[in-house]
């Protein structure tokens, strides 16, 4: 099935952001990671489990009247490392972005180790996970050094 056909499941947006190539079933988590699940006031459309040549099936999110920043997009590295983002202005793609994972994932999630110093919510320093490997993503806490279980980590969103 063509990309255009997938896109037609929801109306084209005039201005905003399209997040494509989200692994099937992860769209809700993506909204959560972007803090858009509760607080957003702009229209958000979501399609789930649509056919994809590359991924088999995938989810797509369209956010109207809001342009995601590269920093916001990078937060998605944990659940949708392959996600592509298009910034839409006047119905056309004005900019394309992909997730860039740097040396560290900072202030996105809290270390999963129960005895890590960062489990005290009053400690003010940044939550830092060092990127040890990219494919697959391997993360270690900068402070306690413990390797992180990605599934558990998603439950520790900040």
């Amino acid at each position: 099935m063509s990309q255009e056909h997938n896109m037609r499941r929801v109306t084209a947006i005039r201005n905003g952001t399209v997040i494509d190539h989200i692994p099937s079933g992860q769209a809700m988590r993506v909204l959560e990671m972007l803090n858009m699940n509760k607080t957003t006031s702009v229209p958000v459309s979501m399609v789930m489990n649509v056919p994809s040549k590359k991924m088999g099936t995938k989810d797509i999110i369209k956010v109207e009247d809001r342009e995601l920043t590269q920093d916001e997009l990078n937060r998605l590295a944990l659940v949708a490392p392959e996600a592509h983002v298009a910034i839409i202005r006047a119905y056309s793609v004005a900019e394309k972005m992909t997730i860039q994972i740097g040396e560290e994932v900072t202030n996105v999630v809290r270390c999963t180790f129960s005895n890590c110093i960062t489990t005290n919510p009053r400690e003010p320093l940044a939550h830092r996970l060092r990127v040890m490997g990219r494919e697959p993503l391997v993360l270690r806490c900068h402070y306690c050094g413990r390797p992180q279980d990605l599934e558990k980590l998603i439950g520790n969103l900040l």
């Binding site: 005895n115 400690e123 320093l125 806490c141 050094g145 413990r146 390797p147």
Partner: protein
């Protein structure tokens, strides 16, 4: 200024050079020479959990070098009990001192403190994480006995899961090409991520539940305490702990220059009959805590230890 949080903070050359400094500082540690290299410097001792040897040897090391020490004191009566964050405590002590030695029950606390501080932090143990100053004194003890660090066969025995001393030590020994034998009950095996790290760095590691099978080939036997509270019931503890006890009678057939080490305190894992054998090194090891920490304090404070110590200070 950078501190010492894990052994990764020191290169092999730096380790060797600090051990050489420590060797030269021995008469100062023994009180035979007074050498006030750290006069005017203040060490902040922040021990958030109990410590005897580490805290006292830091204090002794600082004072033998003419420096001074301020202590956090009992955690129960300090501002920590009022809910102060580690960040705030560090901000305060950082202003009072030139260097901080810290032990904390939470893993990662030392790195956290270093990120919050301007002065160097010496990690004196963070949860089940690292204990690099202990590793430096362990390496010093091994080098004293064998004249080298490389290519030795070392048995690490007892509680390898929670014992932070063995975590830091096994990393360091791997870097010097030592062959490691981990002897522990199943429940207290070396954490998988550490074994993975070590093998990724080319370590030759054998894991076993049998302490005695390789005793005859060992150059170093490093014993640790198995704690009762790690086990669900006392019978299980008694059964398991019994298999990791050294008695003088176990030492027949071992190498002449094999040494037995222990970070102390010991309970039953080394029988007093071992104390008088030529293999026992744990009390020297505890003393070496002073000299190794003297060398580390100098290094992190940027104070050079003179090549020739005797004329600089004058004998007492």
């Amino acid at each position: 200024m950078a501190g010492l949080i894990t052994m990764d903070d020191l290169s092999n050359d730096e380790i060797q050079s600090i051990l050489e400094d420590a060797e030269r500082l021995l008469p100062v540690a023994e009180g035979k020479i007074y050498l006030p290299l750290l006069q005017g410097k203040i060490l902040g001792n922040l021990f958030f959990e109990p410590s005897t040897r580490t805290r006292m040897s830091f204090e002794t090391a600082m004072k033998r070098l003419g420096g001074d020490v301020v202590n956090l004191g009992d955690v129960k009566t300090s501002s920590v009990v009022k809910g102060e964050t580690l960040f705030d405590t560090i901000q305060m002590v950082d202003g009072y001192t030139d260097i901080i030695a810290m032990r904390h029950p939470r893993q990662g606390a030392a790195q956290y403190a270093q990120d919050a501080a301007r002065v160097p932090i010496l990690n004196g143990g963070d949860g089940a994480g690292h204990h690099p100053t202990q590793t430096m004194l362990d390496l010093f003890t091994i080098k004293q006995a064998h004249g080298r660090l490389d290519g030795l066969k070392v048995i690490l025995a007892g509680d390898l899961r929670y014992g932070r001393t063995v975590h830091s030590l096994s990393h360091a020994l791997t870097r010097f090409g030592c062959e490691l034998i981990f002897a522990s009950p199943k429940l207290l095996r070396m954490p998988a991520e550490i074994v993975e790290d070590l093998t990724a760095h080319g370590a030759n590691v054998v894991e076993t539940e049998d302490l005695f099978s390789s005793l005859e080939e060992a150059d170093v036997v490093y014993m640790t305490r198995i704690q009762k509270e790690r086990f669900a019931d006392e019978d299980e503890y008694t059964k398991v702990a019994g298999a990791y006890k050294l008695h003088a009678s176990n030492l027949e057939g071992t190498k002449e220059d094999m040494i037995i080490m222990h970070p102390l305190p010991r309970v039953d894992e080394i029988h007093p009959s071992v104390d008088k054998t030529r293999h026992a090194r744990y009390f020297e090891q505890a003393f070496n805590g002073v000299v190794a920490r003297m060398a580390l304090l100098c290094r992190l404070l940027g104070v050079k230890v003179p090549e020739d110590i005797s004329p600089a200070g004058g004998e007492l």
